[in-house]
């Protein structure tokens, strides 16, 4: 895989990092339903990432 997709992912996760740290800090004081939304967001973010990386590792097609 070329370098620029990693850079794009880096920027995405850099921004996400700021928000999920705020969530992580208040995890024990916010309702579980609110946390579930953030977990769902992380899954939605992580699943395509995992799929894309798997494809990229199998075939150098990026």
């Amino acid at each position: 895989m070329q370098y620029y997709p990693y850079l794009l992912m880096f920027v995405v996760f850099d921004v996400v990092g700021m928000f999920i740290f705020a969530w992580g800090m208040s995890f024990s004081i916010i309702p579980t339903s609110d946390s579930l939304m953030v977990v769902l967001f992380l899954v939605l973010l992580g699943a395509p990432l995992g799929y894309a990386l798997r494809m990229a590792l199998n075939r150098e097609n990026w």
Binding site: M1, Y3, Y6, L7, M9, F10, F13, D14, G17, I20, F21, G24, M25, S26, F27, S28, I29, T32, S35, V39, L42, G46, L49, G50, L53, L57
Partner: protein, 343 residues
């Protein structure tokens, strides 16, 4: 609060009051500058001795007393008196200034590292973010220094340093997220206090492993020392540094080694907590030195990774593992399994 002297007779009591104040002691003696300098000097000697033992050599022997313990001082004196070579057409202000800023960046995060319940210079509520913010500046400064050297090998090393940051930084942050969730705070004193009953290495073991590996990449330690790869880049981004400049860069690098060891101690190993027969700061320093030992050991054992492998490991292994530990932490905290330990 110390009042300023109004008469000449007040000057000596004023100096005594300043020198014995908690602020002065924490800033200058412990955990401030003197403590940092001594530990960094010790680490340079300790690394050489440890690697020598791993490779069946003796290591420093002749300088000073037992085991060549004064070798760092001999090295320092030698480097101070050596000529500083500045490459032709190098950017002099940056070439001379960046190494000093690296030392500043290496020492600054120690202001928020708690070595004991009351042994912290600045008890910031966002201490963890502050450390991440300061340490993430290192690769950029390294690239500027490498560019200022006006030489191809340092420049390639500087580019690799920035390249490497893309691989390790996100997994490192995400692995620290589990700790933040367990402690419910970004304040490092509160994070350590939350580990009074159980160290976070137990519920967040995967995060600990990821953070440790990412720390080694952050420190440019083998097997992740791509920016300094000797067979390919001479000495990487500091190829053109010599004399006192070289010494200052090494000071910054060893400060960073101690910093990351201290950060791992704070986040995962219970910080200053330990049996009461030793003072809190001693426990902290001992734990940090044990972590530093495990960071140093691979240098005597492992080979260097290829450039593309590092970024693949960072995104396909470390990040996935760090995210997995976040989900595990969500389950542990939601089900109340850790409530017996006050979490």
């Amino acid at each position: 609060m110390v009042n300023l002297p109004t008469t000449p007779a007040d000057i000596i009591p004023f100096i005594i009051a300043v020198v014995t104040s908690h602020t002065f002691i924490t800033l200058v003696i412990f955990p401030g500058l003197i403590h940092l300098t001594v530990v960094v000097m010790f680490l340079t000697w300790y690394e050489r001795k440890l690697l020598a033992r791993i490779q069946l050599r003796i290591g420093p022997l002749y300088a000073g007393g037992p085991g060549g313990i004064l070798q760092p001082i001999a090295d320092g004196v030698k480097l101070i008196f050596k000529e500083v070579m500045i490459p032709y057409k190098a950017d002099k202000p940056l070439f001379l200034g960046i190494p000093l800023s690296l030392v500043f960046l290496g020492a600054l995060p120690f202001a928020v590292i708690p070595f004991g319940q009351h042994w912290v210079i600045a008890n910031l509520d966002v201490g963890l973010v502050f450390i991440f913010a300061v340490t993430s500046l290192f690769p950029s400064m390294i690239l500027i220094f490498a560019w200022a050297s006006n030489s191809k090998y340092p420049f390639l090393g500087g580019l690799r340093s920035l390249f490497q940051q893309v691989a390790y930084e996100i997994p490192m942050w995400i692995s620290a997220l589990s700790v933040v969730m367990l402690a419910g705070s970004l304040n490092l004193v509160q994070i350590v206090n939350a580990q009074q009953k159980i160290w976070f290495i137990v519920p967040a073991f995967i995060s600990f492993v990821v953070f440790f590996i990412a720390s080694m990449a952050e420190l440019e330690r083998l097997p992740f020392d791509l920016p300094e790869a000797e067979p390919e880049l001479v000495a990487g981004w500091f190829t053109e540094s010599s004399g006192a400049i070289f010494m200052v860069i090494f000071l910054a690098l060893y400060m960073k080694l101690y910093l990351m060891s201290s950060l791992i101690t704070v986040l995962f190993l219970g910080g200053w907590w330990g049996p009461a027969f030793l003072p809190q700061p001693i426990w902290f320093i001992l734990k940090a030195l044990v972590v530093a030992t495990f960071i140093i050991i691979p240098r005597g054992v492992y080979a260097r990774l290829r450039v593309d492998l590092l970024i693949k490991i960072g995104w396909t292994r470390l990040l996935i593992l760090a995210l997995a530990n976040v989900f595990i932490t969500v389950v542990l905290l939601s089900t109340g399994i850790l409530s017996a330990w006050g979490l």
